[in-house]
């Protein structure tokens, strides 16, 4: 009996720990359109995704700070990142970035992900573009 009670106690404690850690470490995904519509949280890390706008990649003199724009074909968002970009980061290709939205409206990325396959679009990025195109179409139909 004591063992069962102790076991349940441990289990409850562990579950509480797990769920608490889970809740505070979820990272939500927003498309550029959603960010423009102010749906993204201020001061909390989140992910954005879309295509790297062609011609938007600019490198600073230090060689490591990169500025580019992410688009879901309806809206774009400016991103700044310091570090080495993944091999498959390319203009016109899909990208997902994690970071925070600055007060100046520039998304400061701490992590940039581009997946390893030349045809492969990160599903999050594909989703963002799909949503934006749907939204545009429905506007046209109206």
């Amino acid at each position: 009996m004591v063992i069962i009670a102790a076991g349940l106690g441990v289990l409850a404690l562990a579950s509480a720990l797990v769920l608490n850690a889970f809740r505070s470490n979820l990272v939500f995904f927003f498309s550029p359109s959603q960010v423009m519509a102010n749906q993204a949280p201020q001061g909390k890390a989140f992910r954005i995704g879309g295509l790297v706008e062609t011609g938007s990649v600019k490198r600073a003199d230090d060689g490591l700070t990169v500025r580019f724009r992410v688009t879901d074909t309806a809206h774009t968002i400016a991103v700044v990142y310091t570090g080495i970009l993944p091999d498959l980061f390319k203009e016109g290709k899909g990208v997902v970035a994690q970071g925070r939205l600055g007060a100046d409206g520039v998304f400061a990325a701490t992590e940039v992900l581009a997946k390893h396959d030349e045809n492969y679009m990160p599903p999050d990025a594909a989703h963002a573009i799909e949503q934006a195109q749907k939204a545009q179409q429905s506007v046209i139909i109206k």
Binding site: V18, N25, V27, F28, F29, L64, I84, E118
Partner: protein
């Protein structure tokens, strides 16, 4: 022609698998000896046909038969021969075939090393494994045929994913699959026990070596994957909590719990139902892992395949396998009984606590892996669960587990005394505390994290030494005689535990003292990392068999003394036009020097990653030691000559078998 032979062999294998899955199980239930005897030949025949199929596929790859879709999509005539062979399991279809081949190898191993087991038991075990095989063969034949033809044939193939063109990736999947599939033996033994209503110490002794062996393979498989990610992905990480990694880690956690629970069932007859449940969980998660990676529901480097038909088959198969076995468990487990009683302070209770912690850990990984998929599937939004979650969960969960790992081997079965344990362990505690307080100063900088990690590692090693000392004091004779009197499984356990300690040291010191510098380097520029100076001497063009690229030269020196020149590469593979980073690593026992090229920025300058990773090899070394510990335990005499004793208990009405010298554990 050859691919058609392979296809035909697969169909024949399916028929044999059906026979192997149905007749022996029904025969065992209805006591029909002829049906029971079908199990062994059916299993062996199935291996022959699956091996033929695998051989045909491998031949198609090696011989560049681009009229086979699978070959055309995953190979290329310029690909070196060894990678063409490895490409056999580089694709979704091929890896399933490898999975089935492994399953058949395990099954035939069971037929060979089970001569001393009762025939009904063997029939049920082989039957269950046959049913698993049916599921996979059907999946292959219906949705993922590896031999599908392409008409007209492609002039050349689309090449193997360059990330997989690496020796590590050649052996990683077979190892991992040996582990995954190995748990099917433990699972089959558990289901057979539920079906037969017999679950006792002998049952545990039979399934233990199989489980341990599978666990060793899985440990090595995960370790190889982690090592591969470290040197191949080019940014020096060794574990990303990526869903694909989690998929292999969850069965490992359950497998670890299962090994320990089986020990209790064998020694004390306790935890019976729990052991069976763990065996079901370990294998279910192996299935889930295989399918998570192979169905394309995940979004990561490993997930290439996408096809909804596959997803539905997988869900159906998982549902049947998991719900079926859990229903059987709910129905039959009460009959199995709980087994011996034990006190709140006893080795059993500590092992139980460890088991619960491991299971909760596996559950938390499952939550973090599947929850984003569920949300996405239900259109409730897109989220990701990153490393911070897993770090936040794992450290608090594993800390008490490591603490108990030190006490458990010293505690008595059934009833242990806390004061006695405290007396025995006070030195171990003292030694670990002193290590934790002082060693970080020697390393250069004291941080709470490093001290804490070293405390855990020192605790494991010190308590293992204390446990060995007390164990030896119970025997007479000189030291060598006393050391020789201990069973190998005991040394295996100590070794595996020390492997965990080595692993913890590696993780702690890398996290605590690593230097990572991402810098822009022009020719002649130098950067310092971990006390070493790295000078960039420019890049040159290189041409490989199936790629072109740039090869950098980075001169490493320490205090003005030249050490070596590292050559990181940036490659672009010809066929897929995919850029790849090849890091240059100087591996050492006390630390790695890691350099990889980012991209060419301007005027001959490159962005470069320059890392110093102290003790990083200890992470994989620890895993290897764990696996060696498992192998050592497998060599234990009681698995090799268990026949006489178990037969006396088991045989009952059955006839005595001659030639019982066969190894039970392989």
């Amino acid at each position: 022609m050859i691919p058609e032979i392979g296809q035909f062999a697969l169909i024949l294998a399916l028929l044999l698998a059906l026979t192997q899955g149905v007749l022996p199980i029904v025969g065992a239930a209805r006591a029909i000896p002829t049906w029971i005897r079908v199990a062994r030949p059916a299993a062996q025949g199935q291996l022959v046909f699956v091996a033929i199929a695998f051989g045909c596929l491998a031949w198609s790859f090696v011989a560049n038969d681009f009229s086979v879709l699978n070959v055309a999509t995953n190979s290329n005539s310029q690909l070196p021969a060894q990678y063409r062979f490895a490409a056999t399991w580089g694709s979704h279809e091929g890896s399933l075939l490898l999975w089935v081949l492994m399953l058949n190898v395990w099954t035939v191993a069971v037929t060979v090393f089970s001569r001393h087991l009762p025939e009904e038991m063997v029939a049920r075990v082989l039957g269950v494994m046959g049913l698993v095989s049916v599921g996979f063969l059907l999946f292959m034949l219906l949705t993922s045929n590896p031999f599908e033809r392409l008409f007209p044939a492609a002039p050349d193939g689309r090449d193997l994913n360059p990330l997989l063109q690496d020796p590590g990736m050649v052996i990683h999947p077979p190892m991992l699959y040996m582990g995954y599939v190995g748990f099917s033996v433990a699972f089959a033994f558990a289901i057979a026990a539920l079906l037969g209503g017999r679950l006792d110490a002998t049952w545990a002794r039979w399934s233990r070596p199989w489980t341990t062996l599978a666990w060793c393979f899985l440990t090595l498989g995960i370790m190889l994957g982690s090592w591969w990610a470290y040197y191949e992905l080019g940014w020096g990480g060794w574990w990303f909590w990526d869903p694909v990694e989690n998929a292999s880690f969850m069965p490992w956690l359950f497998g670890t719990a299962l090994i320990h629970s089986l020990a209790v069932t064998e020694k004390r007859g306790s935890f019976k139902s729990w052991t069976v449940l763990l065996a079901i969980c370990a294998f279910s998660l192996s299935l889930l892992g295989t399918f998570l990676v192979r169905s394309g529901v995940l979004t990561s480097v490993h997930a290439f395949a996408t096809d909804p038909k596959r997803g539905i088959f997988i869900l159906a198969f998982l549902t049947v396998a998991i719900c079926g076995s859990l229903t059987l468990f709910a129905w039959r487990a009460p009959r199995v009984g709980l087994g011996g009683k034990f006190d709140l302070v006893s080795r059993e209770s500590m092992l139980l606590a460890n088991n619960v912690l491991l299971a909760v850990a596996a559950g938390s990984v499952l939550l973090g892996t599947l929850y984003p998929l569920f949300l996405d599937a239900l259109n409730l939004g897109k989220i990701s669960v990153g490393p911070p979650y897993f770090d936040a969960v794992f450290v608090p969960l594993m800390t008490p587990a490591v603490f108990l790992m030190g006490i458990g081997p010293l505690a008595r079965w059934k009833e242990a005394s806390l004061p006695e344990l405290a007396v025995r362990l006070k030195w171990a505690l003292g030694v670990s505390l002193i290590t934790a307080l002082l060693l970080p100063f020697v390393m250069g900088r004291w941080t709470p994290l490093v001290a804490f990690g070293l405390l855990l590692a020192a605790w494991i090693i010190a308590t293992s030494a204390v446990a060995l000392k007390y164990r030896l004091s119970r025997h007479d004779g000189n030291l060598w005689a006393r050391l020789g009197a201990q069973p190998r499984s005991y040394y295996g356990m100590l070794l595996a535990h020390c492997g965990v300690a080595v692993f913890i040291i590696g993780v702690t010191l890398v996290k605590g003292y690593e230097t990572e510098r991402d810098v822009r380097m022009a020719v002649g520029d130098s950067v310092m990392a971990g006390g070493y100076a790295f000078r960039f001497d420019g890049v040159q063009e290189v041409t490989g068999p199936n790629y072109r690229g740039a090869r950098g030269a980075i001169d490493v020196s320490r205090d003005g003394r030249h050490i070596e020149v590292l050559h990181p590469e940036k490659r672009v593979y010809n066929v897929q036009q995919m850029p790849m980073t090849e890091a240059a690593i100087d591996t050492g026992i006390f630390g790695d020097l890691y350099v990889s090229l980012g991209e060419s920025v301007s005027g001959g300058a490159w962005s470069v990653r320059v890392y110093h990773k102290p003790f990083v090899t200890w992470i994989w070394g620890g895993c290897i030691i764990m696996a060696l510990g498992g192998l050592l335990a497998l060599c234990d005499r009681r698995y090799r000559v268990p026949a006489r004793r178990s037969e006396a208990i088991v045989a009952g009405g059955g006839k005595k078998r001659a030639g019982v010298s066969g190894a039970a554990a392989g």
